[in-house]
């Protein structure tokens, strides 16, 4: 987050600097030649785009540089104009939007990329920019494309009336007057994951999460009502934030489909938990992995009993997902407190003792755990106090077992 903020700050400074450059350019006027009373040279207004870098406060930042040249005709000399740049990703046949993370480089009502110069008067009614002249730059790190790979981008430059200002919505002009415009295409190698891929990933993460929860639910041999209710509640939370009714029901249908599929896979014994975990680890950030584990824990807790098989399954999932096992244990202590445990399973898993620890490490670990639970023994919540007492007894028993 901090990195982004710093970058955003630098870009803001750069944008102001850009304003200064334009002012200098306008003062020199050398690039703008006029032909009074004659026809302007028969050249079109055109644009070109290149990828380059810019040096800013010691940082090198990659940018798309957009240059223009050619004639611009205004209703009268001194007419206030602006250059406005939009971009679309046209790789997949249809034009897909390109978003920008900097809010001052966005359309007024959407997060779509829009670069707009400050308003400046056109000195002559018929003006011409004779040499390629930079009019816009787009910070590459700040934009997001639909997908990664080789992408085809189309930049569109409009010279528009500044008064009243021309407005755009999803790249389409909705008000104002255009004096000149040009379109230019370029290809780019995009390494960053795209927003469509992100959405697909999210869907896949949801799917894997549900599959894992179903697998955990099936681990004790049966799937019961309470477990179903937990999964439904989880789905419910995902749709409740959606305001649009139609979208809500579409999302509900989609999620219900995922559940049905997960159920079928689980009952058919088709779920390979290890493979699911490694895929999840690959495509999801830690938050998504903890979410999946949390749902699994709630599913295991649904019937009010934590069977050893369920606990071991979830701990195994945690290992496969390479999450912090300490943190997972903390979640387990909350969702599946020791009072829910059934059978007299070995307490080592519950207490976070691993076979790799030396007796001295076990001793230190148990002392730490003891202190943690002892401070909970005076919690205002009686169930917390009870849990703490139980854990203290088990920790003491573990000490007897592991420490001479």
């Amino acid at each position: 987050m901090e990195v982004i903020l710093t970058l955003a700050g630098i870009w803001f400074a750069f944008w102001l600097l850009g304003g200064a450059l334009r002012a200098i350019g306008a003062a020199a006027k050398s690039a703008v030649a006029t032909v009074k009373g004659e026809e302007p040279p028969a050249r079109r207004f055109e644009a070109r785009v290149s990828q380059t870098t810019i040096e800013l406060k010691g940082n090198t930042a990659p940018i798309f540089e957009i240059e223009v040249r050619g004639p611009i005709t205004a209703p009268y000399a001194g007419f206030e104009i602006q250059f406005v740049v939009h971009a679309m990703d046209i790789t997949d046949g249809e034009a897909k939007p390109i978003f920008c993370a900097l809010d001052w480089m966005q359309e007024a009502d959407t997060p779509l990329l829009e670069y707009r110069t400050e308003a400046a008067p056109l000195p002559y009614q018929h003006a011409i920019i004779s040499d390629w002249s930079r009019r816009a730059f787009v910070p590459i790190d700040m934009v997001s494309l639909p997908r990664s790979g080789t992408r085809r981008l189309e930049f569109h430059v409009d010279v528009v009336s500044a008064n009243p200002e021309a407005k755009y919505f999803f790249g389409q002009r909705v008000s104002g007057v255009v004096l000149a415009s040009a379109t230019v295409r370029t290809s780019v190698e995009w390494a960053e994951i795209g927003y469509e891929e992100m959405r697909e990933r999210r869907t896949r993460i949801e799917e894997l999460t549900l599959d894992l929860a179903m697998a955990v639910s099936a681990a004790d041999g049966s799937m019961d009502r309470a477990e179903g209710a937990v999964i439904r509640a989880w789905l419910g939370k995902r749709v409740e934030a959606i305001e649009d009714d139609e979208e809500k029901s579409r999302e509900k249908r989609r999620l219900n489909g995922l559940v049905t599929a997960a159920y079928q896979k689980a009952t058919a014994g088709e779920l390979d938990m290890r493979a699911m975990c490694s895929e999840l680890t690959e495509i999801s950030d830690p938050a998504g992995r903890y979410d999946a584990l949390e749902l699994c824990l709630h599913v295991a807790a649904a019937d009010g009993r934590a069977e050893e098989a369920e606990l071991n399954t979830i701990r195994q999932l945690g290992e496969w997902m390479r999450v912090s096992l300490d943190r997972l244990r903390g979640m387990e202590e909350k969702i599946l407190p020791v009072s829910m445990h059934v059978g007299d399973a070995d307490d080592d898993g519950l207490l976070g003792i691993s076979g790799a620890m030396s007796p001295e490490e076990v001793r230190k670990h148990l002392n730490r755990e003891y202190r943690k639970w002892n401070s909970l023994a005076s919690h205002s919540d009686p169930s917390k106090r009870e849990q703490a007492q139980e854990m203290l007894s088990r920790i003491a028993a573990a000490r007897r077992k592991h420490v001479a």
């Binding site: 202190r371 909970l376 005076s378 203290l392 003491a396 007897r400």
Partner: protein, 440 residues
């Protein structure tokens, strides 16, 4: 104590813990009065781990017993005070107090008569009565083996046996075996319990004490080798097995020559003498005065105190509520800490002031001991600084202030264990009801 949910029924009325405690205090002060004449002021000792609410309930109990409670001090401090005024002590000592129902362990630095508490831990459910129960279980099990029926088929019978169990347990401190006569459905039988069997039975409980001893050393960042003495306090530390386990940790035997049962009370008496000396030296007899003159006590905060804040989870990058500690457990008293927090939202016109007690970062795992909304000036952007100051004095009195830096608005809270928690009216009613227990 200090848990309003706990109540006992007796003859159609329910009693709060503080009320029951007041009866004991009353009995004690009457006993003292029979020797000393009118008793007015009292210093009451409490386990070091007692939290705010427990201390306040203790104040209430004292008041209900008709006493003016001039101070509440920690038991290990009192024990060490007593020891240090009678012995030449220099270095770090551990006070190990295993009583009837609770266990307390404290590390302190003693130089002559200056006592600095370094760290303290306690378990409120560990003591002699647990050992009595262990002995009863052993008897029960053996009876079942020998007679085919348990010794105590019901809880009532078990309860009855516990008194006897205590006696047997004590006897096992000096003798290798004890015989218990039982009568159950299969008739009479004699069950013998050896000291080893009792030791085996209580060892998981003693392991708890061992862990707290090690925990408190960890907390004080000390190795057992750096401790020069281990002082035993409390009746249950007479048990040889307990002493052996301590020796195993420290490499030397604990000090047994102090009066285990009275060290705390004597220390409290010394403490009240100290107070009296400061207030009115004439009240203190000359002989006592010289012994008191140069004692210095430094206590520590026995819990961490903090506030609930919004922070970013390092691993997931998500915003979470977290308990942020201002005064960590073990801080020497008096102490004061100020931290600046910032408002989160544009136009935020209120903050929820929460004072927590507990060690965890997880808000669910700490106690909220104070909660109130503090209004802020409207229409301001996010990021306005709020300065939070916690000050904790020697009498375990804490002052917390939340200050909106820009407007100067202040919300100050005083949390004092020297003030009871009960309303005056409740106290009056309680006192009236407790009259019935007057012992003449």
């Amino acid at each position: 104590m200090g848990e309003s949910s706990k109540q006992w029924r007796y003859r159609g009325r329910t009693y709060r813990p503080e009320e029951l405690s007041s009866l004991i205090l009353r009995k004690l002060s009457l006993d003292a009065e029979s020797q000393l004449g009118k008793v007015r002021d009292a210093v009451i000792t409490v386990p070091a781990y007692f939290a705010e609410s427990h201390r306040r309930a203790t104040m209430d109990a004292g008041e209900l017993a008709g006493l003016n409670v001039s101070a509440i001090i920690n038991e290990p401090t009192a024990a060490a005070l007593f020891y240090a005024t009678n012995h030449e002590v220099n270095g770090k000592i551990v006070v190990f107090d295993l009583g009837g129902g609770t266990f307390d362990v404290t590390v302190m630095r003693v130089a002559g008569r200056d006592i600095d508490i370094i760290a303290s831990e306690g378990d409120r459910h560990l003591g002699g009565t647990d050992f009595d129960r262990v002995l009863a279980e052993i008897v029960n099990k053996k009876a079942r083996l020998e007679t085919g029926a348990p010794a105590f088929p019901s809880d009532i019978e078990l309860q009855k046996f516990l008194n006897q169990a205590e006696e047997r347990k004590r006897a096992l401190t000096t003798r290798p075996n004890q015989r218990v006569l039982i009568q159950n459905d299969s008739g009479r039988a004699q069950v013998s319990v050896s000291r080893e069997e009792l030791e085996e039975g209580i060892s998981p409980l003693v392991a708890k004490a061992e862990m707290l001893v090690e925990a408190v050393l960890d907390e004080a960042r000390l190795d057992p080798g750096e401790i020069s003495k281990v002082l035993l306090v409390g009746g249950s530390s007479r048990i040889p097995f307990v002493q052996r386990r301590l020796e195993a940790i420290f490499g030397f035997a604990p000090v047994t020559e102090v009066n285990l049962d009275e060290a705390v009370a004597c220390g409290a008496a010394l403490y009240s003498g100290l107070n009296a000396l400061k207030e009115n030296a004439a009240l203190v007899p000359a002989g006592v005065r010289s012994g008191l003159s140069d004692v210095q006590l430094v206590e520590v905060a026995n819990h961490s105190y903090g506030t609930i804040t919004v922070s970013t989870d390092e691993e997931t990058g998500r915003r979470i509520l977290a308990n942020d500690i201002l005064i960590p457990k073990g801080s020497s008293l008096p102490c004061s800490e100020t931290k600046t927090y910032y408002t989160m939202a544009d136009g935020q016109d209120v903050i929820e002031v929460q004072i927590t007690q507990g060690e965890s970062k997880d808000p669910d795992n700490v106690n909220i001991i104070y909660q109130e909304n503090m209004p802020l000036p409207p229409n301001r952007p996010a990021g306005r600084p709020i300065q939070v100051t916690y000050s904790y004095d020697k009498n375990q009195r804490m002052e917390c202030s939340f200050r909106d830096v820009e407007s100067g608005d202040l919300m100050a809270v005083e949390l004092s264990s020297l003030e009871g928690a009960l309303e005056a009216e409740t106290k009056r009613k309680s006192r009236a009801a407790l009259e019935e227990f007057q012992i003449e």
